[in-house]
Symmetry: C2
Subunit: 942 residues, 2 copies
């Protein structure tokens, strides 16, 4: 190779690298899958139950009609090339059509994209595999075959280069010979020269497949020698083994059209063992993202632009939970795509159990199983299986499969054809049902739902988002683009109202735990009882977020109820401490001359039930038209806040403090951590805060003898619903101290801030003081089911202990401490605080590492469209510049921005002119950076 | 047989029948299982993976220490008698000890209790099985064997008769011969004459085993000829094949003690197929209850009084989900006992998947898997399995099992012994951990929990109920009786705060669904979105409980939040209809001169959050000491009520109506259904009600121009928390009509009454009118997770539609319409209203059949201790006679009664002096009768 070419090539390679890398990055955070044609995954209860026979059978059934394309994908093939399921499907299909459908014209191809070095060696050296096809009898027409090998790194450059050529037109040479080595790539014969468009696309797709698949080569293949000869190092190498065949039918195929079978093996390994073992033994590991990326690529290329009928099956390897090459179980590995499933069950003795268990493993990953197929072994296993499935999932029975190796199975396929027709029909109608349901859903949602916090008039049907599923932090959303159905991934950046925490792994473990908890407990009565999940949850809470102060756990259902309970606790404790107690107060109809109020911060928010609303300042939520019974039983202090504005953390003081202290300079912080430093306690500002608080408290108490402040309630550090404002933690600390001095019980509302939302398990880490009562909900269960707790100190509890039941706290909900919620909480609490499962955890500090790239955050804060930024833990909030009617909650200002970000694969919801990204405690900083980059780009456009 | 004997015998048989029948009945509703010794179930991922080897290995490991008893139970044996796992364990154990532990003295027995007629024939005719043991080489000591056959119905009488003899003392003859046919039963040799107590017990247990097991005989065996000869009819017959062996050790066994292996096969079938198939083919079906009854019997006999060390394994047949003889999957069949599990996994290719799937099927039934054991096939399957299990469940590897039939496996057992020791150790420590945790739980609950509605001072630690699990309607409760640990069943008659509905089958299906919903969705954001479970739930609600009036579904978390939302809806609708609307009211800080109140009935209860409490009349819940912010924003009408008093349904009118209508006679109803008749609308009483209501409404409105009744809220038909009062449905109907006339929106609080609680899906069936708004929760999800809905008519919805977001209903909770709750609701709503799954459903009427035996209810109402009875649907409530301080909520009157009923296996909670039984919509009337009988008996004692 001459130096100039080599240099050029290196540049191409770099360029390619970059593109490919980018592609994979994009894939992690967002993808879309075609839903224009049925795509099914074929699973099995165990190895060797006939998945490939089912795939082949479906191909013969589906292609019995003309003008159709059947795509068979085998992502993982071990025992290769001696075993090759895609070759089997390709061959049997050809044989079957040659014998049984002489009138049809069919085109078939088989393509092996990649293999371990070891496996590819056998292909290249003319292993036993290569001759195999010559035996296929061909009826009429000419079977032509061409193989071209794209095996070493030089090839890739060439392939890339050839793309232009192919796209350029029809001048591609026909070459029936094997082209191997470097030099120009020649595409093999085009079957249908009258349908140039399709053919070109087809040629293109093979190439693209190779290009897509080339990443593995780069990983494993740099050790491959460049010597013009094929060299077998370790790692996965490109194989590009390709063969195709056409059968000319007796009928005029130009009139009827032809049928097309495309078979692909994505990765092959030599040994006939589980992929995780051979990947290790042959030093040819494939990462999950890479594998899914290639699978998505193959699907996109083969199906996205396919105008006619098409049908795809993806055949897994081994059983449903057999590990893939990275070690991930296949049922977990393919989960992000959640293709509907066909389960090939076991018709043998013991097979009922094996089939049911495999079915349950699929359900535990959120798959829809459309049909079960078993081979007839004379045991009528279909009976118990149908009964287990309550006849909602059909069980089909295939005739006994001949065991003699010499049998070419043609009679068997013929005999089984009606079953395959039924199966295909079931799969077709399930597909039609699914898509038509997805199409109907926005209208029905529009007609039947009454969404909370939603002005229905402002949500036209077409704006309704259809969420097909979630996997970890991502939604899978149904969309129709240019009349084509898609399933698109969107990062749930609103963390579904701030509840979400699980990554994909935790989600699946929670699924098993939820199943277990339901089966073991369902729900059981709580008062006066104990059961494991409730107890373990309480223990974890008291050792965790309640450590050092809490001794009692009161369960309820959501943040709002937890707050109502907290208020009841605090007010009672106040009455108790201040000796405002009498028997009268205990009795029914009791009234008091005391008007108990709470002290709270303006902008804080504690829930939507009346009692919780009473503890928040008047707002659009509390107007007469919304809640005619709201009084506002609080005194509401304006708090100082902190935010990054134009690259600097700045403090904003409330009007009153500024008025009282006219000579104060601007406060800024060079580092965010300085905001939280305890040393600020001795600063002048601390005194100013104290005097502001002290004056306020005395004013309230003096002005009316009957009004008492019975409790302090704050959201520590961040006001969530109030617009993601960071309150100066020093101010909150001074406030808490002063209330303690005055024996006013202190409530921390950690519904939003708790469980790592701000980067620590409890926000008390940041304000460095403890409450008497604290409320947790949202993230506590990892984001699976509602559950809330109100933690209390023993002193608070004791205000309710006495001889009379009427002294007890008479508040409860039906599902108090329900087993599912407690189980989810136990799992999630442990998961988030274990560095083995949460890779973001800095174990020593018990803090999350910085998730949002500080430089990028600073860059964003410098954009003219951005007023302020608040970044802490899993939260990155931005207030957009807005004036006049654009400000405030009612604003629809951010809508168009967020609409664009949805197209980028980020699902966000605004809080007026505040927008925010929220990830889970385990989300990788890379994902966060990816999100930030997209936001930055869109903000720049503003 | 002479006539007198025959007569006597017939009487015994009848008596026995009765006892036995009674025993089984009792079993269904209550059982207790010993927890004094480890009991494990050995499961496998498939057939032939070595469960029996593991069992045998554990027996050799455990019995390596003296003075111990190992109980091996094989409930289901197919291929019998050629295959007999209990015989294998018995033989291998003997062989192993003879060879390897010459110093030990051991006693071993094998006992086969029952078999199909076909299988028993081979035993009786001296099938190949009988000689098998002569080959066992015996070291020292004499191997003695005796078999006695208890095969036909005559035998049973004799066995029963012999019990007295055995109990009577030690004079039982030693008979080494086979005793077969009728005549006196002779018990085989007692091994340890120095330990007479144990021996007698042991003898007794064999007999009891037979007696217990005799029910099958009666079912299948009446066609058996009485001719002295053995006769083989269909059905399951007693086999009573028994053999035993003792090995005299070299050490002084009287000093060291001996070890004892007891092996039992409960049921044998001839063909080597799945139990469900052979049970059918050999016409020898065994029902689940019968099987569990026998299993429990065997465990009780062998373990309950065992003072020394004991260990039990129960070996299942086939895979985890292989059907048992009734067709129930074994993992479902054994679920009521929920023994901890050992899973024998699969070490072969495909075995990772099979093992994981089997593990998941066990978890999906609520089992705890303590260890996984696999055979080494050189594939290192333990790696991925340990990684999947996160090393929390150990995976043990057994050496490769020799495949040659001739191998006696002695070397293998020796080689595997260390693994079996480890396994035993794991099982022992899991057992110790479990029991010590169960012992600690009450104290920890007492220290950490803050139970709702509970005066902690009144709940001593020893009164805390430890709930180990639930299965359908029953709790499994941990108890210590006379220092012996037990797991006891208690019927959850308070339906865990009225939430419960599932039977055991629905619970397991819900477990799968909860797993699926978590894996597919976790939770996803609701507003402006749609996803399948929320949509399907909404559709079912609008087609079901909302049919004919509701068009919108508003989701929230619990009854209390649903009520707050309903009130916000109703009050807005009222403002809208009465044109009390202005832009001011929409704004922040808006106040109004209008004081909006609700009309409600005294005694009704709508939840514990402040907004819901405001809609209920003052009560101990609402006093200043409980809820200082309560005002009582309602006008509360006294309603007329109906109840069965001393056998007659009687109407009680409120004081005011009685005063206004002094000449009114007593109203009674001959049948309950007459209370609900629409024809009562034209009665004089309807007019009286109307005038009472009309006057009240005018009085409120006239007295103050600013006070308006903005909503009516009622619990239709039954006031739940208010004391299970039945309100006259005519009164509620008249009330609703009058509110409609005055354009006051009507809310039905169906949180308690909805979803079949009262025998119809909605209580509107009984009051025969529709609301504008209705709330549902509790039973809606079948009793699994919290979820609530507020249904509304389109007219109500429209009061919130406008151009401004501020006109929308701004109320919501984080987990609004969470996928798990909606999925549970979808499943449960369908399950309860489908006569295929709910056998209580009278499909045509869409009503539940009468669950509580009317005669028995009437009898109860006649008891002097009973003041009134209210029976409807799943509810049977009794108010006890009480005077003075015993009346009212604070009463502890019923406590002692309920304590006794807990001993009878019924878990109830009082509402003051009202006690109630509450079953699920699918609970069998037989179970209800069983409960009623126990209550009747205890009430009679009062």
């Amino acid at each position: 190779m001459s130096p100039p070419t080599s240099t050029l090539f290196a540049a191409v390679l770099r360029c390619h690298h970059h593109r490919n890398h980018h592609h994979l990055r994009r894939f992690i955070s967002t993808y879309s899958l075609p839903l224009s044609h049925p795509i099914y995954t074929i699973w099995a209860a165990n190895t060797s139950l006939g998945k490939t026979l089912v795939s082949a059978g479906l191909s013969t059934s589906y292609l019995s009609s003309p003008h159709r394309k059947f795509l068979y994908l085998k992502p993982l093939q071990t025992g290769f090339p001696i075993d090759s399921d895609s070759l089997f499907v390709y061959s049997k299909f050809g044989e079957f059509f040659a014998r049984n459908r002489p009138e049809f014209s069919v085109f078939a191809s088989n393509h092996v994209l990649k293999a371990s070095g070891l496996a590819s060696k056998d292909v290249f050296r003319g292993g036993s595999d290569v001759e195999r096809d010559e035996n296929v009898s061909c009826r009429n027409g000419v079977v032509k075959k061409s193989e071209f090998f794209l095996s070493n790194s030089e090839m890739k450059g060439s392939v890339l280069g050839s793309e232009g050529l192919v796209r350029g037109g029809f001048g591609v040479e026909r070459d029936d010979n094997v082209s191997c080595g470097n030099g120009a790539v020649k595409k093999s014969e085009f079957f249908d020269s009258n349908r140039a468009e399709l053919s070109v696309f087809d040629a293109d797709c093979e190439l693209k497949g190779s290009v897509l698949g080339s990443e593995g080569l780069v990983r494993g293949g740099f050790g491959v020698e460049r010597d013009g000869n094929v060299s077998f190092g370790n790692g996965v190498v490109n194989v590009g083994l390709y063969e195709e065949r056409r059968l000319q039918g007796t009928e005029n195929w130009e009139m009827k059209g032809y049928s097309k079978l495309v078979c692909k093996t994505m990765y092959g390994w030599k040994e006939a063992l589980s992929p995780h073992l051979v990947a290790e033994r042959e030093n040819a590991r494939v990462e999950d993202d890479e594998l899914l990326g290639m699978l998505k690529g193959c699907l996109g290329i083969e199906l996205e632009s396919e105008k006619g009928g098409a049908f795809c099956v993806i055949e897994t390897a081994g059983g449903v939970a057999s590990p893939g090459p990275s070690g991930s179980l296949q049922c977990d590995l393919y989960r992000p795509f959640r293709f509907p499933a066909i389960l090939v069950g076991d018709g043998r003795l013991g097979g009922i159990s094996a089939t049911i268990s495999a079915y349950e493993s699929l359900k535990l990953r959120g798959y829809d199983v459309v049909a079960v197929v078993i081979e007839d072994h004379g045991l009528v296993n279909e009976g118990p299986l149908s009964s287990y499935l309550r006849r909602r999932v059909p069980v089909l029975v295939l005739p006994p499969i001949p065991k003699e190796m010499s049998n070419n199975l043609m009679e068997w396929f013929q005999e089984a054809l009606s079953t395959f027709h039924s199966l295909e029909e079931i799969m077709q109608s399930a597909f039609v049902e699914r898509t038509s349901r997805l199409h109907d859903m926005p209208r029905k949602a529009h007609d039947f739902f009454w969404w909370p916090f939603t002005q229905h008039k402002l949500v036209p049907e077409e704006n309704v988002t259809v969420i097909d599923s979630r996997c970890g932090e991502n939604f899978a959303v149904h969309k129709v683009n240019n009349n084509v159905d898609l399933i698109t991934q969107q990062f749930d950046a609103c963390a579904s109202w701030w509840t979400q925490g699980p990554d994909a792994t935790l989600q699946i473990e929670l699924a098993r735990d939820m199943g277990y908890a339901t089966a073991r407990y369902g729900h059981v009565m709580f008062p006066e009882n104990v059961y494991e999940p409730a107890l373990e949850c309480a223990e974890l809470l008291l050792e965790g977020v309640g450590k050092g102060w809490a001794s009692r756990v009161y369960f309820s259902d959501n943040g709002s109820t937890a707050i109502e309970i907290a208020l009841k606790m605090a007010l009672r404790k106040f009455l108790f401490d201040h000796k405002i107690v009498s028997d009268d107060l205990v009795a029914e109809n009791s009234e008091s001359h005391v008007d108990l109020k709470v002290l709270a911060l303006r902008g804080s928010y504690h829930g939507d039930t009346l009692g919780a609303m009473e503890a928040q300042a008047p707002s659009p939520y509390t107007g007469f038209y919304q809640q005619p019974w709201y009084k506002g039983r609080g005194h509401f202090l304006d708090p100082p806040t902190v935010a990054m504005c134009h690259g600097v953390w700045k403090l904003s003081l409330p009007q009153e403090i500024e008025t009282q202290n006219p000579s104060l300079e601007d406060f800024t912080f060079s580092l965010r951590e300085n905001i939280f430093k305890e040393s600020r306690d001795t600063s002048n500002l601390a005194d100013i805060y104290h005097s502001y608080i002290w004056k306020t408290l005395h004013l309230i108490i003096d002005s009316s003898g009957s009004t008492r402040i019975g409790a302090l309630i704050i959201e520590p550090v961040i006001h969530g619903a109030g617009g993601m404002e960071m309150v100066d933690p020093l101010f909150q600390r001074v406030l808490v101290k002063e209330c303690r001095n005055q024996k006013i019980p202190v409530i921390f509302d950690e519904v939003f801030t708790g469980f790592w939302r701000l980067g620590a398990e409890s926000a008390t880490e940041f304000i460095r003081c403890k409450p008497d009562i604290a409320c947790f909900a949202k993230l506590m269960t990892g984001g699976i089911v509602p559950l809330a707790v109100t933690l209390a100190s023993e002193a608070v509890f004791e205000a309710f202990v006495g001889d009379s039941k009427l002294q007890a706290l008479l508040h409860g909900h039906s599902y108090t401490a329900h087993a599912l919620g407690c189980t989810a909480a136990v799992k999630s609490i442990k998961w988030f605080k274990d560095s083995k499962t949460n890779h973001n955890l800095i174990s020593e500090a018990m803090l999350l590492r910085e998730l949002w790239d500080p430089d990028l955050v600073r860059q964003i804060s410098l954009l003219p469209a951005v007023h302020r930024v608040v970044v802490l833990g899993t939260l990155c909030a931005l207030e957009l510049q807005a004036e006049g009617s654009n400000a405030g909650y009612a604003s629809l200002y951010a809508r168009s921005l967020l609409q664009k970000l949805r197209e980028d694969g980020i699902y966000m919801r605004p809080l007026g002119n505040v927008i925010y990204l929220m990830c889970g405690p385990c989300t990788s900083p890379q994902s966060c950076t990816n999100l930030l980059n997209k936001v930055y780009t869109r903000l720049e456009e503003l």
